[in-house]
Structures are given as C-alpha cells and as structure tokens.
C-alpha cells in the first residue's frame, strides 16, 4: 500500500510543475535545461567532499574501531536507557545513512522487525538525520567552515533523537 502511494509522489509533483509551467506560458524545456546546467556545476564542486567522506567513513568501518567503541560505550548507553545492541547505530547515525541501513537490517534479522529493538531502531531511522554528512554536503559547495558550536548542537540533536526514540518506544510499546 505504502509503495503504491509513494510511487505517485514524484510523478505527481512533476505533473503539477509541468502543468503549471504550461499554464503560466513558460518555455518549459529551455528553462529546465538551464537549471540542469546549474546542477552540474554544483555536483562538481561537491565531488571533493564526497570522495573525502567516503574514504574516511569506509576506512573507519574497516578498521573495526566502531565495534571497539561499541564494547566500551555499550554499558554507558545502557545507563541512559539506550539498548547496548544499538551502540554502533549511535556512532554511525551522524555520519553514514547507508551503514545505518545495513545495521538496521542486521537488527531486524537478529531480533525481529516488530521486537522492541526493531521498533526503536525504526524510530531512530525515521526521526533523525545523518547530521555530519548533511553538514558536510551542504557546506561542501561553498568554501566556509562550520563552527564548533553548530557541530556540537547538531550532534546533541542527533543524540537527543536517539535517546528519545529509546525512551518513547519503551513507553508506547
């Protein structure tokens, strides 16, 4: 059901935009092409950030440091009511959406998608963003530095989301 609804969103949007452009008598094709050109230069500016990030994230995962951190911090997270099984998710959530998907699938397979762990994991994925990645990508195309303050608040927000997901799921389910 969800997939059917979802499949209408993008085509529907395109339909509305194109119809509106016809109604307002715009040279739709020319304007579209112009926009595409602008998009290309943005992606070229972004490539260094992408390459650098993928390199560091992949290396970090391969080194096994995430598992090591999970062992150390699992107990601490448990104290603030975040299940220790989710430790690697806590560390990877701010930096990599695809790794989190992999971890989530792991948790679903191991504990069940409708278990409390599965539900908390789902809520975390639905209610938080890939904070550091977002910051890097959004500032990648312009040459400005992100301040420490912003970084700390953003990571705090991410952690707050994870913490609340654990607490609220335990209350509701």
């Amino acid at each position: 059901m969800m997939n059917v609804v979802e499949s209408f969103i993008i085509p529907g949007l395109i339909f509305i935009i194109i119809c509106a452009s016809l109604k307002d008598k715009i040279k739709t094709f020319d304007v579209f092409s112009e926009g595409v050109k602008e998009g290309m230069s943005t992606v070229i500016n972004l490539f260094p950030t992408l390459l650098a990030l993928f390199l560091s994230i992949n290396m970090l995962r391969a080194s096994g440091i995430i598992n090591y951190l999970s062992d150390i911090f699992g107990g601490i997270l448990e104290l603030v009511s975040i299940p220790k099984e989710l430790t690697s998710l806590v560390f990877l959530k701010p930096i990599s959406a695809s790794s989190c998907m992999a971890i989530a699938t792991d948790i679903f397979n191991q504990y069940g998608v409708d278990s409390i762990l599965g539900l908390i994991t789902s809520t975390i994925l639905g209610a938080t963003e890939t904070t550091l990645y977002t910051l890097a990508i959004y500032t990648g195309a312009i040459k400005k530095k992100i301040s420490k303050k912003l970084l700390i608040i953003a990571i705090f927000g991410n952690f707050l989301g994870i913490l609340l997901s654990s607490i609220i799921c335990k209350i509701i389910f």
Binding site: M2, N3, E6, I9, L13, I17, A20, K23, I26, T28, F32, S33, G35, V36, G39, T42, V43, L50, L51, A52, L53, F54, L55, N58, M59, L60, A62, S63, G64, Y68, A104, F108, V113, D114, L119, S122, T123, L125, G126, A127, T128, E129, L132, L135, I137, Y138, T139, A141, I142, K144, K145, I146, S147, L150, I153, A154, F156, N158, L164, S165
Partner: protein, 194 residues
C-alpha cells in the same frame, strides 16, 4: 570542522587497522571508496540536475508564491535578512523535507546555501546559514516513507506502527534543538528580526 575531523578519522582508522590486524580490510576500503564516491557522484548528478531543472521551472510559475505565503512566517522569522532568491530556495527545501522527498531537499538546500553565501561577506557562516544547516540536520518529515517501506520489506506485521513515536521524537527533538540553536547561533539575528 572537516580539517580536523577528516585527518583524525583517517589516522585513527590506520592505527586501529594495524592494532586490530585489519589492514587488508582497511586497504580494500580505500579502493572501494573511490568507486563509491564516483558512483554516488554519478547518481547524485542525475538527481541534482533533474531537481535543479524542475526548480528552475517552478521558480517561473506561481506555485512557488503559494508555498512562500504558507511558510512566510517561519522563513521571515529566521531568515529575515536573506535575499528573496535565498528565501525561495529555503522555502522549497523546507517543503520537500516536510513532504519527504529527501533527494529533492538536498539539491535545494545546497542551492539555498549558495544563495545565502552570496549575501555573506565574512569568512564564517552567517547565523541564517547556521540555523538553516541545523534545521536540515533535524527530521521534519511528516511520513517516514523510507523506513516504513523497509519495515514492510522485512516482513513487519504493522509497518506503520512507528509513525506515532517518530512524530513525538521528531517534534520534541526539533523544538529543543532549534531553541538551543537560536539561543546560541542566532543571537544578533533575533534583534534584527523582531
């Protein structure tokens, strides 16, 4: 920020790789990254260009004005001294985030940052840019479609069950984090806006 984080991540992974005896994996990861980055870039090129084109059309139509009217109170409150162009992109980014087309929100967000940057002469991010970034690190999606689909694919009995907790968590996190953000990052801004 990345000037410190990035080198530390690389050094940590190599040192840890040596200690853990996982240098083979680390070495492989380097080559996989090149492939990943290029693949991502090519995928992103399509999405980014497509939505840039669509947005360009949208900008010429009257639909954008309607969105702008709805979101005007929010955008004007936080981004009052940005240019009209930047406000348009901010509006579109927020709208696509809310309706959950994340792959459109990112191109628009990047464009919004570029527009705001034109209006910013200092070397640092302006407070408007900071708040905009912070907003984008928080989830404001109404229906978490991706995770619901994944749950359904994994054989969940009730894949939509998590909507309620997702809403509660998103809203509380959004309010608390933005309040802190406005307090710390947007001080000068609030004086000018009121």
């Amino acid at each position: 920020m990345l000037n410190k984080i990035w080198p530390s991540m690389i050094i940590l992974s190599i040192l840890f790789g040596i200690l853990n005896g996982r240098m083979m994996e680390v070495n492989d990861a380097i080559y996989v990254s090149f492939k990943d980055a290029v693949e991502m870039c090519i995928n992103f090129l399509g999405v980014m260009c497509f939505w840039s084109g669509m947005v360009k059309i949208l900008k010429h139509t009257k639909i954008l004005d309607k969105f702008k009217k709805i979101l005007k109170p929010v955008v004007n409150k936080f981004f009052c001294d940005e240019t009209e162009k930047a406000k348009e992109m901010i509006t579109l980014n927020i709208v696509s985030n809310i309706i959950g087309i994340g792959n459109a929100a990112t191109p628009m967000g990047i464009k919004a940052m570029e527009e705001m940057d034109k209006n910013n002469n200092s070397k640092k991010l302006s407070s408007g840019m900071n708040l905009f970034l912070l907003l984008n690190t928080l989830s404001i999606q109404v229906i978490p479609t991706t995770i619901i689909s994944i749950r359904a694919a994994q054989g969940s009995q009730n894949s939509g069950k998590i909507i309620l907790p997702v809403w509660i968590v998103s809203i509380i996190t959004l309010i608390i984090t933005m309040l802190i953000g406005i307090r710390i990052l947007g001080k000068e801004k609030n004086d000018e806006c009121s």
